[in-house]
């Protein structure tokens, strides 16, 4: 009887143990199908968490200090996460931990800390959405940001066209028209350095631009035609005005800070001619001179 009792206890322990073993196997990320779907690009707006007065130009809100960000989760092993973020022309790696909280997965990852703008990402992946905050290590103008990102696949497509309702505004070059009062939004006269309808006539990634075509384009159109090549390749812009413009394009995903090697022969040729005419427009368009 004692022997039987001991056998029963052993059997129960054995079953419990095997059960425990199988549960831990399910929890292991390497074999969990949901965590592999976390890998890849999460794209959306990186928004200031504090109140900050945006910039408006003409009838448009030119920029409200939001930048499009791509958070790329590159590797998950056990609870260790490796990845990087691309935002505002800044490519920063991060490492950290992932915690399974049942309904969602909690990520706490850190940037290396050797850059002025490094900080800590704290986000959750719930279903198809990555939401969270970012806190800067240093005292910077916007110390905290929040974001709600969607999973996206980046694929270079030369045929992408620019959205026609979207207008590029250079608020540095354009004249400021509102009184310099911090309680009001800065407003800019958009008549001078802005894109025109001519921009939509050409696609600089698809066909070689001729001298006749580029010689009658204004500077902003030349500038955006050239930079749209960069945007199609997923270039993350350091220039605020370019960022504000391309961030509004639904197809635009910033994935890299160096895309020079990805240009096609057509694009290289077009960049060369566009730059030449941009330089000419910059130096000669509004001065006493010929061209």
């Amino acid at each position: 009887m004692k022997l039987l009792k001991a056998f029963c206890i052993l059997a129960v322990i054995a079953t419990l143990q095997s059960h425990a073993a199988s549960t831990s196997a399910v929890l292991k990320p390497a074999v969990n199908p949901t965590t592999t779907t976390f890998l890849g690009y999460w794209v959306g707006m990186f928004k200031p968490d504090n109140d900050i007065v945006g910039i408006s130009a003409g009838e448009h809100d030119a920029w409200d200090f939001e930048n499009k960000i791509t958070i790329s989760i590159d590797e998950i092993s056990n609870d260790q996460v490796k990845g990087h973020s691309v935002v505002a022309g800044n490519y920063r790696p991060f490492i950290g931990k992932m915690i399974n909280e049942g309904k969602s997965f909690h990520f706490l990852v850190k940037e290396p800390g050797d850059d002025k703008y490094d900080g800590i990402f704290d986000f959750y992946i719930t279903g198809n959405l990555l939401t969270g905050t970012w806190k800067a290590n240093n005292k910077i103008r916007i110390p905290k940001r929040n974001y709600s990102l969607e999973k996206k696949i980046f694929r270079y497509n030369p045929d992408i066209r620019l959205t026609e309702s979207n207008q590029y505004v250079n608020w540095v070059k354009n004249k400021k028209v509102s009184p310099n009062d911090p309680h009001y939004r800065s407003d800019y006269d958009i008549s001078y350095f802005t894109t025109t309808r001519d921009l939509y006539k050409y696609n600089a990634s698809v066909s070689i631009l001729t001298k006749e075509q580029v010689s009658n384009l204004k500077k902003a159109d030349l500038f955006i035609l050239r930079n749209s090549i960069y945007a199609r390749h997923g270039y993350s812009f350091k220039n605020q005005q370019l960022r504000a413009y391309f961030d509004r394009e639904p197809w635009y995903i910033p994935v890299s800070t160096d895309v020079k090697n990805a240009f096609t022969a057509i694009e290289k040729k077009n960049i060369e001619i566009l730059m030449r005419y941009e330089k000419n427009a910059k130096e000669y368009y509004d001065v006493f001179g010929r061209g």
Partner: protein, 227 residues
């Protein structure tokens, strides 16, 4: 009293006119200096990459650019009465430099540049006609001077210098139009390639009509009454 007043006004007018000419000549000098030493990858030549490889275009371009200043300056010295009366030999020598540079060097060079001009047929025809008229007007002025026909010499030289000044007026029109309207660059170029010299020629014709023809009529009337 009225006569001295108008004399002062005329003098002040001349002063402003020559000050403006000198100022714009200085700006032209700055444009010229962009091409010293000879470079084919700067300024205007940056948007002439399709023809800058042609030797005859390069010769024409640099001949035009380097002689332009001398034509502008020697031409300017021809108008003040003081120089004409006190230093007649200076007037003759500057006249020779002005006329021969236009007829032999920079006029033909301008024609070659016009043939390869930017802006298609619209601008090319404007620049070619300008170059041809420039040489013809200057030549007419020279022959009139050789024949000692001073009135005719003055008339043709006014027309010649009006076209010489198109170097300045074209660039000035461009600046004004861009400032006011901000049009597309090639649209501006089409406009100023014509406006730059046709406007000057109209002003010259008006000047000739009122200053010379009217005076001639006055002198004729005077001689008629005497007779």
């Amino acid at each position: 009293m009225d006569a001295t007043k108008s004399l002062y006004l005329t003098k002040a007018g001349y002063l402003v006119w020559y000050a403006a000419l000198l100022w714009f000549s200085y700006l032209m000098l700055l444009i010229t200096l962009q091409y010293v030493p000879i470079r084919t990858d700067v300024a205007f030549l940056r948007i002439k990459e399709d023809v800058v490889g042609l030797l005859h275009y390069r010769i024409a371009f640099f001949a035009h650019v380097y002689t332009g200043m001398f034509v502008l300056m020697t031409g300017m010295l021809q108008f003040p009465v003081y120089i004409r009366n006190s230093f007649p030999s200076l007037h003759r020598w500057c006249g020779r430099v002005y006329a021969y540079l236009i007829i032999i060097v920079t006029g033909p060079a301008g024609l070659i540049m016009g043939i390869y001009g930017n802006g298609g047929l619209v601008s090319r025809s404007a620049f070619c006609i300008l170059a041809v008229l420039w040489v013809i007007f200057t030549y007419k002025g020279v022959t009139a001077a050789i024949n000692r026909n001073i009135t005719v010499h003055r008339i043709w030289m006014y027309r010649s210098y009006a076209l010489t000044l198109s170097a300045i007026s074209l660039r000035l029109w461009k600046w004004v139009i861009v400032l006011l309207l901000q049009p597309r660059p090639m649209d501006v170029y089409h406009v100023v390639s014509w406006l730059g010299w046709v406007g000057n020629l109209l002003i010259a014709e008006l000047y000739i009509y009122y200053r010379i023809s009217k005076r001639k009529a006055f002198i004729n009337a005077l001689s008629l009454t005497k007779a």
